[in-house]
Symmetry: C2
C-alpha cells in the first residue's frame, strides 16, 4: 500500500502527465475504458500520447527555412516561425533585417511578468539608433486580412474575443466571417511587432514575445508576425525588469541577442531539425477532443471545452529512418 505522502507527490505524474512542448503540456496518459453503455463512436478515447504515437508522417510538417528565424542567446537558440500569410510586409522586413545582421549584439530589453519579453535596439529616448540598412522604416498595419485563401481549422468552442477561432497552418487565429477578416491571436509564445500610437508605426525591429496569460485585447491592435516553436523557456525565465513595463533599469541586466538569422541563411548542418503537428488533419481534431474532454482516471469532470490558447501544438525531432 503506497503511503499517502508518496501519492501526494506522485500526483503530479498523473495530474500533469505530459511531454513538454513549445506551447504547453501534452497529456501522456493511459486510455480510460469506454464509458458504460456507450454504443456509438467514439468507441475508444485515445490519450494524447497514443494519438501522437499513431500519427503518420503526413500528420507532421517541417518549417520553411525562408520563414524560420533563429534568435541566438547565450543560453541557446529560440526558433520562431514567421507568418507571411498574415503579415507579409513585416515578414519581408524582418527577413531583410536578419540578413543584414540588424539584431546582432543587441539585447532583450524588457521582461514583464505574465505578459511579454521584448528585444531590439536598447537605445533610449534621444540616443542614436542603429540604421535600418535596406529595411523599410515604415510599414502598413497588418492587424487583419481577408478570410479567402486561408486553410482555417475551426475550433468547436465558443470564444469571448472573436466570433470564431481556430488554427491556420499551426497558428492560433480568429476570424469574423461577416466582416471577412481573419487575424492571428495573442496566445503564449506569439511574436509581435511593437508600435507607437499610430497604427502603422511598427517596422519589425522591436519584437515582443507573449510569456503570460494570453493578452487577447491586443488582437486587431498590433501586428503579430509569428510564433516561438522551440526554446520559449529561454525567454520565459528571464528575470523580470524592475523598471516601468518590465524594462531593465541597468544595461547589465539585459540579455544579449548574439544574432538573429533566417534558417535559409544558415547552413543545413546548423539548422534545427523540428517537425510540427499539422493542424488541418483528423488526427489534430482527435487531439483537440482529447484535451476538451479528458477521459483518464485522474480527471473527475471533463471540461467539455478548451480555450484556443490552451490547445497544445506538439513538436518533435524528425524520426530516425
Amino acid at each position: 500500500m503506497p503511503n499517502p505522502q508518496l501519492l501526494a507527490s506522485a500526483l503530479s505524474i498523473v495530474l500533469f502527465g505530459s511531454t513538454v512542448s513549445a506551447t504547453g503540456p501534452v497529456q501522456a496518459q493511459t486510455a480510460a475504458p469506454p464509458e458504460p453503455g456507450m454504443t456509438s463512436a467514439p468507441v475508444v478515447a485515445r490519450s494524447v500520447a497514443e494519438i501522437l504515437e499513431a500519427s503518420q508522417p503526413s500528420d507532421w510538417r517541417t518549417l520553411d527555412p525562408a520563414s524560420t528565424l533563429y534568435l541566438e542567446l547565450d543560453s541557446g537558440r529560440v526558433v520562431i516561425e514567421l507568418a507571411p500569410a498574415f503579415a507579409p510586409e513585416h515578414v519581408t522586413n524582418i527577413r531583410t533585417l536578419a540578413r543584414e545582421h540588424y539584431w546582432d549584439a543587441m539585447s532583450i530589453n524588457r521582461s514583464q511578468d505574465n505578459f511579454v519579453v521584448q528585444f531590439g535596439d536598447p537605445a533610449q529616448d534621444d540616443a542614436p539608433r542603429k540604421p535600418l540598412g535596406s529595411a523599410k522604416a515604415k510599414l502598413p498595419a497588418e492587424f487583419a486580412r481577408s478570410i479567402q485563401g486561408l486553410n482555417f481549422k475551426l475550433l468547436p468552442d465558443k470564444d469571448g474575443w472573436a466570433p470564431q477561432v481556430g488554427f491556420v497552418d499551426g497558428f492560433p487565429a480568429a476570424r469574423h466571417p461577416r466582416a471577412n477578416t481573419a487575424w492571428l491571436a495573442h496566445c503564449y509564445g506569439m511574436v509581435g511587432a511593437g508600435r507607437d500610437v499610430a497604427a502603422d508605426s511598427s517596422n519589425g525591429t522591436e519584437l515582443y514575445i507573449v510569456t503570460g496569460q494570453s493578452p487577447r485585447q491586443l488582437d486587431l491592435n498590433i501586428t503579430l508576425v509569428g510564433r516561438v516553436v522551440d526554446g520559449i523557456e529561454r525567454l520565459s525565465v528571464l528575470p523580470r525588469g524592475t523598471g516601468p513595463l518590465g524594462f531593465y533599469t541597468e544595461p547589465s541586466q539585459r540579455t544579449p541577442t548574439r544574432s538573429v538569422r533566417l534558417a535559409a541563411d544558415v547552413s543545413q548542418a546548423e539548422r534545427t531539425q523540428l517537425q510540427l503537428l499539422r493542424t488541418d488533419t483528423a488526427l489534430f481534431d482527435e487531439l483537440v477532443e482529447a484535451r476538451r474532454n479528458r477521459r483518464d482516471a485522474w480527471y473527475k469532470v471533463p471540461a467539455g471545452h478548451i480555450d484556443l490558447c490552451n490547445v497544445p501544438l506538439p513538436t518533435r525531432a524528425p524520426p530516425q529512418t
Copy 2:
C-alpha cells in the same frame, strides 16, 4: 519630429503602459476624450491609473494574517492569500503544517513552462518522507462549494469553462447557479494542492502555483487553496526542469524553501504591508470596464470583452498617513 526608430521603441510605453501587479499589468494611461456625440453615461472613461488614484481607503482591504502564508526563498518572500471560504479543511491543514515548520528546508521541485511550479517534500518514489506532525494525512476533496454565503461579483463576459464567472473577495471564481456550486478558477498565480488519482488524496503538503496560460481544465478537479498576491515573479522565472513534467533531474537544481509561515505567526514588524483592491465595489466595476474597452489613443479596436484571468487585481503599499 521624433525618429521612427525611437517611436518603435517608445511604443512599449504606450502599448504596455502599466504598473506591475501580482496578476498582471495595470494600464497607466491618460484618459481619452469622451467619444464624439456621447451624451449619456459614462461621460468620461477614466484610465486604470486615474481610477486607482481616485480610490478611497474603503476600496482597499488588508490581508487576514491567519490566512496569509509567507513562502521564504533566497530571492525573497512570496505572499499567498489562503481561501478558507473555498477550502476550509485544506487551509486548516496548511496552517498546521506551516506552524510546525513542515516546509522548512524543503524545496521547489518542479517548474514546467507555461504551466506550474510545485514545492514540497523532494523525496522520490519509495524514499522516506517527512512526517506530517499533527496535520491530517487525509482530507476531503474541496473542488466546489455551495453558492450561499458568497459575495460573488459577476463579470459581464461569457466564459467557455463555466456558466458564470467573477470574483469572490478578490479570488477569480466560477459558479453554476442551477447546480448551486461555486469554485475557484485556475488563473495565473493560483495555488492548489496536488493530489493522486483519488479525488480525496491531497493533504496540502504538495502545493503548485500556476505560472502560465490559465489551465482551467483543472477547475472542479483539484482543490485550489489560495492565490499568490505578491512575489509571483520569484516563482515564474525559475529555470524549467528538464525531467518529465518539469521536475528537476538534479537535487542541486531545486530552489530551497527556507520556510513557510503564517503571517499570524510572524512578528508585526516582519509582516509584508500590502493592500488589495476590493472586488465588490463600484470602483472595481469601473476598472474592469476600463480593461474591457480600452479607450486610450493606442487601442484602435476595444475588445468589448475580458477573460476572467485577464482582469488585474491591483495591490499597493499602504499609503503613508
